[in-house]
Symmetry: C2
Subunit: 194 residues, 2 copies
DNA sequence: ATTTTTAGGTTAACAATGTTAACTTTACGG
DNA sequence: CCGTAAAGTTAACATTGTTAACCTAAAAAT
């Protein structure tokens, strides 16, 4: 049974498929086991518990997002366009990968309490990416780049959250909303301090 | 047994206590029943299912929030101060009532799918409140108040979400972050469009 | 070559969950 | 006093995450 790919990766694959196809609540140890073709207990050989399995999926998502952001923030264009592109990439990721985004950033804290905090260093890396661009554009003026990046992150995260939770007005096209969010984000580039 | 307050309100009360004391996942029909002193099935006489019970708690939270915002947006002060106060009130509500905020705005869509959309009219009412203040300050300039209010909502909601999920840098004081968020929110009042 | 250990996997079970069918009790109108 | 409807309970079902005990096959040790 160890012939065709190790069981661990097959478990992860089917968990991801189930997650993307039927949503988070449909992901149960028994369903994954059935899809993989093993027993539920076998999963516990490779993962301490369901949380650990979900965490592995979070890792996958973080990898994906990091790739998207790295591509968008490649330093081959003007900083302002790069800023805009990176914001858009983050928003796009959330909208196009709702399940990934959900388990990465929207899961109940109580369910994710056991998630090791140091794994979120990758998230911090993304924050630094935004801070770098802000620093580049707003050089000189006295401001805290990481603080501003966090506020920017709040805006983007909130926009994705509301969109995914379908709390936005149905009469408001998503693209219009996204455009407005990015446009507002760009106001962070202006060094106005009245 | 129908002497001391109807069972329905006692169920709600204990559900709220449990929610605030032990968090969402600790709220189970059996625990509520035990706390109230009835059987789990009795709850189903007054609530169709667990979701319906949670929805009733959401109603409570909406009431609370609406009260806070109404107080903060009372038209007895200057519009800009009112705007700042209303933003702060929303942020404070989320931070001071994490469990309420969680079930109101952060619950998994799949778990809340059955929540009747029209109940969120109260949330829309809050949005209109922000839109009104924006309209008042930025009168004249061509802009969509509801769209801007939604972007503002995204910022506030994202800030609360990240704070509640403890995703913010531990070295960053919450008050500093909140201040920065409000300060940035105020940039929406400036009619600059380059 | 034979025994022992160990890693990988299964069977069966436990406790907790939301929910429901069937039964009992209580109250009230005729 | 009887019947009916509401209020509440008992006992169960199906599903969940998780674990203890067992099995099995391969590798290591004697």
């Amino acid at each position: 049974m160890t012939a065709n790919g190790d069981l661990r990766s097959r478990i992860l694959e089917q968990a991801r498929v189930l997650l993307l196809k039927e949503g988070y609540s449909a992901v149960s140890m028994r369903k994954i086991a059935k899809a993989v073709g093993c027993t539920p207990t076998s999963i516990y050989i490779y993962f301490d518990n369901k949380d650990a399995l979900i965490h592995a999926l979070i890792e996958e998502g973080m990898e994906l997002l990091a790739g998207d952001l790295a591509k968008a923030s490649a330093p081959d264009s003007e900083p302002r366009a790069r800023f805009r592109g990176t914001c858009l990439a983050f928003l796009e990721f959330g909208i196009q990968n709702p399940e990934y985004y959900q388990i990465m950033f929207l899961l109940h804290p109580e369910k994710m309490e056991r998630y090791p905090t140091d794994k979120y260093r990758r998230a911090r890396r993304n924050l630094e990416l935004f801070a770098d661009i802000l620093r580049e554009v707003r050089s000189g003026s006295s401001f805290d780049p990481m603080l501003s990046a966090t506020v920017l992150w709040s805006l983007l995260h909130g926009a994705i959250s509301l969109h995914l939770a379908q709390r936005l007005d149905v009469g408001m096209p998503a693209s219009t909303f996204i455009d407005q969010v990015v446009e507002h984000a760009e106001s962070m580039l202006l060094p106005e301090s009245p």
